[in-house]
Amino acid sequence: MSGPLLEVDALRVQIDAEDPDARPVRAVDGVSFEIERGEVLGLVGESGCGKTLTGLALLGRLPRPRGRIAGGAVRLDGIDLTALAEPERRAIRGRRMAMIFQDPMTSLNPYLRIGDQLIEGAVWQGGVTRRAALRRAEALLARVGIPDARARLRSFPHELSGGMRQRAMIAMALLAEPDLLIADEPTTALDVTIQAQILALLAALRAERGMSMLLITHDLGVVAGLCDRVLVMYAGQIVESGPVRALFDRPYHPYTRALLRSTPRIGARAARLASLDGLPPRLDAAPMPGCRFEPRCALARPACREAEPALEGIAEGRDRRCIAGLEELA
């Protein structure tokens, strides 16, 4: 099939306040992007920018009852998942998309042996014996680098180390051979040597399966290592997107530049890390007319307060939401 695997079009996610009279939080506010087949797309930003909720919205797993998709479309191979009835949507999601999280215990049932959790779906759907399903689960565990896979089928999640649990969760996500894997901070809780192993595993799975990935993270180094393109999110919006290398070498949005300059590097000691004063705007307040980053922006000018800049193409494959001249960002 031609066209991108996933198209997200003006997606809006709202979290309703507990108090019905209070304004909802516009957590994701008009986000659009595409993921090509086999592409690894990074989604970066700081806490509260809406990156995790974007991932959950794609899967229809927003926190209930207060979280909901308030607008926009999520099209997988041209089919709008937000327009489908729940059972159909669930079938597509279960087969074609999977998600892994920072904490594997959000996906693993602590009371079930690893093997039983892995074969649950296949056995329930029928057409396969328990023994055949277990054999496949064992192969999958071995594939994600779990030593002694047969014995591990009988382990409970708490008997595995953090790195091994992460591998088990990845194995579970791969069961249905999804076309798209959404990975939300998959290595953030891991030690750096274990993180390197999991990232290498994800790179291998992508290479051999041609699986697309949306990698949600705050770690620019992880993005540089694994992604083809990257979206930078700020206050519920995408402020910049482009190929990873080009975007990190030369950011076109002042927020991206500030993020890069505030990140300590292992290769060279910066004279001084840039810091961003102030905080992102509250997303439950009435929207201000101008750019959301303006109050913290080093390049702000009066025009930035008048109208919100649109996300526009500025060079081959590069979009940004800013009116500053590129020479100012050099």
Partner: protein
């Protein structure tokens, strides 16, 4: 350099009991820290770095060894004897929320140590609180606000201000930026550098993040399974590690300006349990350069260009 170092830790061990078993969390660690210097203590979870900091701060019981502050012994001091030391040694933790009383406003939180240790009162106390808030980048007009009204980065600044309130000589910082976003982390790191320049305090900075180490540290101690496997100047370590474990750590960090990560599905070696550390060199089961000798015999510490390494390859 003349005189004793500000902090001298010698052959320090800390044990924990885990059921019937004994876990040696810190195993014969020696290190030194001079006034005005930043020593980073780096390693992965469970390596004993936080326990070591707590032992230095008198918060966990020392099994064996010595901790001297400007020449005087801290191990074995009574609680009472610790009180004047607290003025000289302060700790800042990862989670400011756990160490800030939610019912005290910023002025009370920052003023409390001044009241206890420096006996400041009234207007003088208020003036010092405002001065310190400005110094750590907090607006003094917010001093009547309670912790929940501040952001995570601001709460960490309150934690740092509280530690500085007694004018310590040594600051023990345990993962103080690990819970913060990168732009906020940058503010706190720059604040610590600035404070050190102005006040000349020594900092023991415990972290798992090597990029942060690179930015902040003068010297680095790398810990693995309870032992320090390498100490070196930061410059020398990042130019080329002296111990295979330090090298593995450096190589594992994904870099913003680095190459794409190579695909590899089956690398799955893990840190052995500290309850049963491997015989010989503790790193040998994961070491690409291990010799037959490393499986039997524990290496001592051998001098390298700017420090020491616990590796036979340096013997």
């Amino acid at each position: 350099m003349s005189g004793p170092p500000l902090l001298a830790v010698e052959d320090l061990s800390v044990d924990f009991r885990v059921g019937e078993a004994r876990l040696r969390a810190v195993d014969s660690v020696s290190l030194e820290l001079r006034a005005g210097e930043t020593l980073a203590l780096v390693g992965e979870s469970g390596c004993g770095k936080s326990t070591l900091a707590r032992a230095i701060g008198g918060l966990v019981r020392v099994r064996h060894g010595s901790v001297r502050l400007a020449g005087s012994e801290l191990v074995g001091l009574s609680r009472r004897a610790w009180k004047p030391i607290r003025r000289r040694v302060q700790m800042v933790f990862q989670d400011p929320d756990a160490s800030l009383n939610p019912r005290m406003n910023a002025a009370a939180l920052i003023g409390e140590p001044m009241l206890v240790h420096r006996r400041l009162r009234g207007r003088e106390l208020d003036r010092e609180v405002c001065k310190l808030m400005e110094r750590v980048g907090l607006d003094p007009t917010l001093r009547t606000h309670f912790p929940h009204a501040f952001s995570g980065g601001q709460r960490q600044r309150i934690g740092i201000a509280r530690a500085l309130a007694v004018e310590p000589e040594l600051l023990l910082c345990d993962e103080v930026t690990s819970a913060l976003d990168v732009s906020i982390q940058a503010q706190i790191l720059e604040l610590l550098r600035e404070l050190q320049r102005q006040l000349g305090i020594a900092i023991l900075f415990i972290t798992h993040d090597l990029a942060v180490v690179r930015h902040l540290a003068d010297r680095v101690a790398v810990m693995y399974l309870g032992q320090i496997v390498e100490t070196a100047s930061a410059e020398a370590l990042f130019a080329g590690a002296g111990h295979p474990y330090s090298e593995a750590l450096l190589a594992a960090v994904p870099r913003v300006d680095g190459p794409p990560i190579a695909a590899a599905a089956d690398r799955s070696d893990e840190v052995p349990s500290p309850l049963a550390p491997p015989p010989g060199c503790r790193f040998h089961p994961r070491c690409a350069l291990a010799l037959e000798r490393c499986t039997r015999e524990a290496p001592g510490e051998y001098p390298i260009a700017t420090g020491r390494a616990r590796c036979f390859l340096r013997a």
